[in-house]
Symmetry: D2
Subunit: 141 residues, 4 copies
Amino acid sequence: MKKPDPQIEKRIRDSFARQKLMAAYGAEITDIGHGYMEISVAPQDFLLRTSGIFHGGVLAAMADTAAGYAAGTIHTNDASFLTVEFKISFLNPAQGNRLVTRARLLKGGRTLTIAQADLYSIDEDLEKQVATAIVTLIKAN
Amino acid sequence: MKKPDPQIEKRIRDSFARQKLMAAYGAEITDIGHGYMEISVAPQDFLLRTSGIFHGGVLAAMADTAAGYAAGTIHTNDASFLTVEFKISFLNPAQGNRLVTRARLLKGGRTLTIAQADLYSIDEDLEKQVATAIVTLIKAN
Amino acid sequence: MKKPDPQIEKRIRDSFARQKLMAAYGAEITDIGHGYMEISVAPQDFLLRTSGIFHGGVLAAMADTAAGYAAGTIHTNDASFLTVEFKISFLNPAQGNRLVTRARLLKGGRTLTIAQADLYSIDEDLEKQVATAIVTLIKAN
Amino acid sequence: MKKPDPQIEKRIRDSFARQKLMAAYGAEITDIGHGYMEISVAPQDFLLRTSGIFHGGVLAAMADTAAGYAAGTIHTNDASFLTVEFKISFLNPAQGNRLVTRARLLKGGRTLTIAQADLYSIDEDLEKQVATAIVTLIKAN
């Protein structure tokens, strides 16, 4: 995977550090590429449903966030992206000691970007896909 | 709007009170009907994007939660619902002193339930729709 | 419902008449309003699944088409719209002697339009909702 | 790719041959695997928008159909599948001398199946992705 320009990477890490929802969730960037963003989070009591799996709204927030930053990795200027819509499908219960979200671009257009975010739970070393989301974003000049 | 059976309403209020994500958000039930659920939340720093509007992931969590409980209002037994997938479209910036989510059922089937959740921001007395979500749920035993 | 400008209505009827997929289906415009479009189609053998209900792909084409024209009703210039994405949920089997699709705008923005298309089957005089779609469109200058 | 059981392949080819919408479109099966279905179609006047690209409703019908049959490839009994909902995102104009739809399963559960269908246009030997769809299906009887 191609690494993003160092300035782009710095801009994205700085922006992520300012996102209070991600900070409250304890989420962190675990990889960045050109057109790629991976963020991870560990379970915390308030992120889980009463059944002990991650709340779907948490998965949605992770998918939306990763997709937005993946869009940003291919733009040198200080572009920011607004989510137009996304759909998330839940494939398996999101259980485990780590939830990893990997977003990559399906289309990086002048106005619109479309990204797919795949979410995995990791237990011991076993990785299982728990959800997938398709996200439409618009560049906010 | 028809009110739900008192026992159903009690079961839903008890369940909602146990949802730690909703508690962390400071969300509360503001109306329940037969096939209807309204939940509301006030802005808190960690629920907002750096631009001051509610994070899309928060709207998604509210929509998902309201839809799940709306599904529960028409079942007398202790049915619980799992979200299969949802799509959320963002219509306007979610700014204001209150975010209200209203979910109603489009289909309440034996196995699958489909709900629509409309989200509104309220500023002073002005209500503006900020998002809409269509949610598919499956009854878990 | 507010009627569209007569010139807009003429432009839309002319454009619809050129759509060969709609002609092949035997679909016709049954109502136009400002931000509203209704198109209808009768069953034909090739539009049905082997079980006798309308094929989901036919419902999708009707929803997509109605949404695109609903977007066009609020623009005086010769704007055309491209569909960015849509989601369609199937609520009931689409059986009957007529399938009616009603699209209205949820957001009519400068760049993006979001519409909801509700589909109904009509049997005798009984109308039943069979599907709903949320459609994102972009204006192609 | 693992081939499906010959009896399953026969059942699917027979069922596809009875689909009148696919016949009207001139669509054909170009590959079948275990959990995989590829169908292709050539341009015909009535499948195209006035701009000469495939109508979005045609892409949607191809995606829906391929996903349903992909679900069928992993079941030995005469299972049929109903589409619960799908979302399709359009990535590039669907131009070319062939439209190929490839569906594979993201989840093959007891009740629900989730498939992703990727659509490509082929011009000369150049293949370009034009759309992607995520489809939820439910097993009927």
